[in-house]
Amino acid sequence: MNEPLLPDAFGDLAPFADWALEPERARTEKRAAASMDEIRAFYDAMILRIDDILAYLEDDFGGDMPAEAHRLYLMSLSLVEIATLVEFYKEREAVDACDPLRYASQF
């Protein structure tokens, strides 16, 4: 059976479905490996749809989120993961911090 990658209304975000990652560590690694252009392209696509995404995710899906909705949810977590870089630092060069991969996370 051919399952949809993302919920129908969000098919336009399919090129970014590789950001649907868990746990947090996987999103951090993706952020560390991506170029700033890739990060910005993902941010731009997601932020345009964020209100619709949040409204869509308010649904409780009868207690069991289908795979395509879960993927969209994980992409939203990735949007949060990269947000500091885009909205606050703006440039990677501005980041004056230790290597983020030094932080081992438990969950």
Partner: protein
């Protein structure tokens, strides 16, 4: 007029600079080991990490060469033991956390212990010499719980109870709904810095608008000189407290607007008696507990600083959030978690940079201003406790 106001409130702390020697000297580190870490209540984790009988975690307290096993017994009681087998002292549990089905087995000769610490099985037992199992259960460590936080004390007979030790801090936080919060993330990073360098950096807000200019520095209230300030400082026998407010005009970004300015905020969690938007407790010697409230949920971040050597520290950052009612709230929590994490990674870089500067020996003292008074208080307590100047 803020100038000098905290020193006026707490004149006994004086205004002297702090010597750099305790940050780099092995002698001071040894005194801290014997007189502070071996004689203090140390927070090691939360009860919700081990909800069921047989659940356990192991906490290494490297400065004391100790490994502590914290386990919930089949009687529901949380106990602490030295993670050392009673037979020939093998480290009993090798993993950091887990769940045992009623008994723990030593991998070396298969001695078995119940989840309440009794010795319950010895292979070839008849071949020992009058071995009485009752005398050889796991070696207990004094363990007590306050508000779901588990503390251990390595001294054989702790001089004071956990409750006395926490004193006014416990009085302030007794009704805080910690039980509503769940451990959501733990970050652990090993830093090339003395543990006090790490603690100092988390005990003032002077650096926020400068070091964290791109991140958290834009979040907290500033005075007319552009500096962050304390709304309150309270000092206790060992511990200390300070508080800050958020800036009334937050830097808004598209994601923050989407996450925080939509949705329902009715039914907010009631958090009694917070002084500011961020309430920050230093639990002497090596813990920090900070509380903040966002919309209808609250967050608690705790830090534990585990000295490994005079110039090595494991910094453990633990984030606890009350249960999110919606996925929007879950994403709000993710936002705080990532934003704070990114900010703390700036701190990690700075801790190592400060430690390197101190270790170069160029400056014999650190200079402190009025808004760095909590640092002064911590070092006063530590100096009294460790008796740096005193002979053993």
């Amino acid at each position: 007029m803020r100038q000098g106001m905290w020193s006026e409130k707490y004149p006994d702390l004086g205004a002297n600079p702090l010597p750099t020697e305790p940050y780099i000297s092995e002698e001071h580190f040894a005194l801290e080991r014997e007189r502070v870490f071996r004689r203090s209540w140390l927070q090691v984790g939360r009860v919700d990490e081990i909800p069921d009988a047989g659940d356990y975690f192991v906490r290494d307290i490297a400065i004391c060469n100790a490994s502590i096993l914290v386990i919930r017994g089949s009687d529901g009681v949380v106990r602490g033991f030295h993670n050392v087998c009673s037979h020939r002292s093998n480290r009993l549990v090798a993993d950091e956390r887990g769940s045992c089905g009623g008994a723990l087995f030593c991998r070396l000769h298969n001695w078995a212990y119940s989840d309440t610490g009794e010795l319950v099985g010895v292979p070839n037992e008849e071949n020992f010499f009058g071995l009485d199992r009752r005398d050889h259960g796991l070696t207990p460590v004094d363990t007590d719980i306050w508000q779901g936080f588990i503390f251990v004390h390595l001294a054989p007979d702790p001089a004071e109870t956990l409750r006395n030790y926490l004193g006014g801090v416990a009085d302030r936080l007794d009704s805080c709904p910690f039980h509503e919060m769940k451990l959501s993330q733990v970050y652990r990073v090993e830093e090339r810095a003395n543990w006090k360098v790490v603690l100092d950096a988390q005990n003032e807000v002077y650096h926020l608008p400068y070091q964290h200019r791109w991140t958290l520095g834009q979040s907290f209230a500033k005075d007319d000189t552009g500096n962050c300030y304390f709304k309150e400082i309270l000092l206790y026998d060992y511990h200390s407290f300070w508080s800050c407010d958020y800036q009334s005009f937050q830097k808004l970004t598209p994601l923050k607007i989407a996450l925080f300015y939509g949705g329902d905020t009715a039914g907010a969690l009631h958090v009694p008696d917070m002084v500011g938007d961020l309430d920050h407790y230093l639990l002497f010697p090596n813990g920090i507990l900070s509380l903040f409230k966002v919309g209808r949920w609250m967050g608690c971040i705790t830090y534990m600083l585990w000295p490994v050597a005079v110039d090595r520290t494991i910094w453990e950052i633990r984030m606890h959030f009350s249960a999110p009612a919606t996925r929007r709230e879950r994403l709000q929590q993710e936002f705080f978690k990532c934003f704070i994490r990114d900010t703390l990674q700036e701190d990690t870089l700075a801790h190592e940079s400060v430690h390197a500067g101190i270790a170069s020996g160029v400056r014999s003292h650190l200079i402190l201003q009025d808004d760095e008074l909590p640092i002064r208080h911590f070092h006063k307590v530590l100096g009294d406790y460790a008796g740096y100047g005193r002979r053993a």
